[in-house]
């Protein structure tokens, strides 16, 4: 008789998630699934609202990356007005977004992944958390906190609120940046670059001493998707969608606003989160990954000098081929963190960043608008249809983490196959499954490990539903 292992709760992606692992008669993993347990129905209740409410409503989908929703929404609203926000407004929106990326990526690397990487997957769980990290390396921990704070400081200086800003409006933004705020941010940048570079050094050292694990761990072939510049550099704020296959061959390149022609969503009865895929290849052949590693795989370069230097190292990892192991997400995240800080400097040094020309006003011109952005966790689409008065008739959202839904299930399954033994459940196995999910940084896991560790339990039930074994953290 086969058995089922349930891991619940794992962490959250805009809600709760769990993992079930099915064992066959021999105690070997037959199938593993990643379930999203929550649903809130935003698309439905946005109907009837005014479109200018959307940057405020939809940012409340996620308290970890509200700025990304706020801005994807603002772009969709610009499209409804049929205007481009003035250049200074775009600079400030992108600057705020760099703050979001720095805050989210730094927190994830240092506070969440850090304990695994620095203290070890098999370290005593009692110390394998950020407190253990603080004890092991207090200097580094302080720098990590400073980086996260810097990201949040950018968001707050630009839009006053740290979480859920009320800053972008259809056609632009509502507040100019003061010279003193600009200078205060610029002054911190060299120090912050140093901190990220320190993190990169640690990461490279870890990769060298764990080369086999990096290659093997949750490694599988998919396509990769993200926004790029005209010259195929990663762009976290704007650009065209590029999709490459597992050989880095360009499968497609399209205007993100045309996504419905390229992306379809599959539904499974056992998860509230849908499964997007590349329409032309069908389900499940068309699955793709998004987020830091996907972006570095699908692009050809980084648009800032220090990030580009590091990108060249990344490219050499597999002689220019795609980098498939899920643990490389951590490395990619830091390279992007470096890019975001350098990019923030470019934006702040732009003479127009303190301009007061921030708004374009217009009537409702188009009955439809799409906004696309690279959220920290991947490509995010907002698509609105309005009536002539600007009331929403229909809304479609594809959120960043959703794009990785299938990939996370695959990652869990790969790891479960290699480390779960139905006869003997170990804490290390548990942590590796968790680490597979953590690599993708599903939303709230950013803050996991801030004080302790992610709750995780692995329970084995026989086919009749009776608990026969349990492994949990102590």
């Amino acid at each position: 008789m086969g058995r089922t292992i349930t891991i619940e709760p794992v962490t959250r992606i805009e809600g709760h998630a769990k993992v079930t692992v099915h064992l066959d008669d021999a105690g070997k993993v037959e199938r593993a699934r990643f379930h999203v347990n929550e649903f809130r129905g935003f698309e439905k209740f946005c109907e009837g609202r005014l479109f200018n409410e959307m940057p405020l409503i939809t940012e409340r989908i996620c308290g970890i990356c509200p700025v990304s929703h706020h801005l994807a929404s603002a772009k969709a609203c610009d499209a409804i007005l049929g205007v481009e926000a003035p250049r200074p407004a775009k600079l400030l929106r992108e600057l705020m977004h760099m703050g979001q990326v720095i805050q989210s990526h730094s927190m994830h690397f240092f506070e969440l992944a850090g304990p695994d990487l620095l203290l070890g997957f098999d370290a005593d769980p009692a110390v394998r958390n950020v407190v253990g990290l603080v004890q092991a390396n207090p200097q580094l921990a302080l720098k990590a906190v400073a980086l996260r704070k810097f990201g949040q400081d950018i968001i707050a200086r630009v839009g006053d609120r740290r979480i859920h800003p009320n800053f972008s409006v259809p056609g632009g933004v509502n507040k100019a940046l003061s010279v003193s705020d600009r200078d205060a941010m610029l002054a911190q940048i060299p120090e912050m670059i140093g901190y990220v570079q320190e993190g990169l050094e640690i990461m490279r050292g870890w990769m060298e001493s764990n080369a086999a694990e990096m290659e093997r761990f949750a490694s599988f072939s998919t396509a990769y998707l993200g926004l790029v510049d005209e010259d195929n550099a990663v762009n976290l704020y704007d650009g065209e969608i590029r999709l490459v296959d597992a050989q880095r061959y360009e499968l497609d390149r399209f205007d993100g606003r045309q996504y419905l022609d390229y992306i379809a969503e599959h539904v499974e009865p056992w998860s509230y989160l849908k499964f997007p895929y590349y329409r032309k290849l069908g389900w499940p052949e068309g699955i793709y990954r998004v987020g830091p590693l996907a972006r570095l795989n699908m692009a050809e370069k980084m648009a800032t000098p220090l990030a580009q230097q590091e990108y060249e190292r990344f490219r050499q990892l597999r002689d220019g081929k795609v980098v498939e192991g899920s643990l490389y997400y951590h490395y990619a995240r830091l390279i992007e963190d470096l890019y975001a800080i350098e990019r923030a400097r470019q934006l702040l040094e732009d003479p127009e960043c303190t301009s007061k020309d921030l708004r374009a006003t217009a009537r409702v011109t188009n009955r439809e608008g799409v906004g696309v952005i690279e959220a920290p966790r991947g490509t995010l689409w907002h698509h609105y249809w309005v009536d002539e008065d600007g009331k929403l008739e229909k809304v479609n959202l594809i959120v960043a983490t959703g794009n990785n839904n299938y990939a996370m299930s695959r990652a869990v399954e790969e790891v479960a196959r290699s480390c779960v033994d139905g006869e003997k459940l170990t804490e290390g196995a548990l942590n590796r499954i968790e680490a597979a999910i953590r690599a993708y940084d599903p939303c709230l896991s950013c803050s996991t490990h801030a004080l302790g560790q992610m709750p995780l339990e692995l329970v084995v039930y026989d086919a009749g539903g009776t608990e026969v074994a349990r492994a949990q953290r102590r």
């Binding site: 809130r40 409410e53 859920h164 992306i263 009865p269 803050s447 996991t448 004080l451």
Partner: protein
């Protein structure tokens, strides 16, 4: 400050995680929290599992900060469990206190939401009409999802709540104030809000001139004057009805207050309070003209007046066809 370490639980239900990020923004003060409390549960940040909480004696957790509304059976189960185990249960943030943005879902129901999301959304490829189920048979066994309810309820519509900490999210300083009040035992009367009882207008620096208006404007239609009261410029600002505590951050960036701190003490319906405040700035005595100003200027009254508080309002939800939305028999199942 407490001499012996107390026990603290932090939990989230139907919310976005912003309350928890805001809590982290108390920065180094989190170490003082750590000094005063053992954190027995904080799924996003600490070790502590449902099974451990179930095994604890009733009232053995000193304080539970609970954020998020109640939308699924799993969330209801956790609300009941943490209520039983906690001496003091705080509805932490707008979602737990008044439903917040997800509470706008009460204009609809599960069937409509699932139909749109899984059967009608553009881009779907779902020829077999698959919709997520609470129980699914697969070759290897059964898979489960929590039951999604028709109606989002606030925490205090589900269990008894001792205190409310408003805001979407509560500002980090207000969270710290509340923690200090709890640590020092200087709490307001039971069932009340821990916070200020003035309005956002009271802390807003903009100039009010008792000016009346002939029409309401939308944010994309005007570039507001940076000094003048936004409501007097025709932007529907929620400041007059909204509890202070944020520092009037939205008017500070030339955006109208959206009402995320909810009503002040003694107000049972935020929307009704705001409507009365807004009515007083309309420059007309003629009923037909007033009707025109309102109909043209405020085409979405629910989203305008009940943006954060629909679930908690006297309206609660849209009418369901002939049957009550959430039968009392709908038990929590995990």
């Amino acid at each position: 400050m407490a001499t012996e370490k107390g026990k603290l639980a932090i939990y989230w239900a139907a919310s976005c995680g912003g309350c928890e990020i805001s809590l982290l923004a108390i920065n180094e003060k989190i170490l003082e929290v750590d000094k005063a409390f053992d954190i027995v549960m904080w799924p996003c940040a600490a070790d502590g599992k449902v099974h451990d909480i179930e095994k604890m004696a009733d009232k053995s957790i000193d304080v539970c900060l609970f954020n998020g509304g109640i939308r699924t059976s799993e969330q209801e189960y956790m609300a009941r469990l943490l209520r039983a185990k906690s001496k003091v249960l705080v509805a932490f943030g707008s979602c737990a206190g008044e439903g917040c943005i997800p509470g706008l879902g009460n204009v609809s129901n599960r069937e409509e939401m699932f139909e749109l999301n899984y059967l009608k959304c553009p881009g779907l490829d779902n020829p077999k009409g698959v919709v997520p189920q609470t129980e699914t048979e697969v070759p290897e066994g059964k898979l489960h999802l929590p039951l999604f309810y028709d109606t989002l309820k606030t925490l205090d519509q589900t269990v008894e709540v001792d205190y409310f900490l408003p805001g979407c999210p509560p500002e980090a300083d207000r969270i710290w104030d509340a923690i200090v009040a709890i640590l020092e035992g200087k709490l307001p009367p039971a069932h009340s809000v821990i916070g200020e009882n003035s309005t956002v207008c009271d802390s807003c620096k903009r100039v009010r001139s008792e000016k009346k208006i002939k029409s309401f404007k939308r944010t994309w239609q005007i570039i507001p004057d940076p000094e003048q009261c936004l409501l007097e410029q025709g932007l529907l600002c929620c400041g007059p009805a909204t509890r202070a505590g944020c520092g009037a951050l939205c008017p500070e960036v030339n955006s109208p207050c959206i009402g995320c701190y909810g009503p002040t003490d003694g107000v049972h319906d935020f929307g009704a309070r705001l409507m009365s405040a807004v009515a007083s700035v309309i420059d007309s005595q003629d009923p037909d003209e007033i009707r025109r100003i309102i109909e043209e200027g405020i085409p979405d009254p629910i989203g305008t007046f009940y943006r954060f508080s629909l679930a908690k309002s006297l309206l609660r939800r849209s009418r369901q066809n002939g049957h009550h939305a959430t039968p009392a028999t709908q038990e929590a199942t995990l």
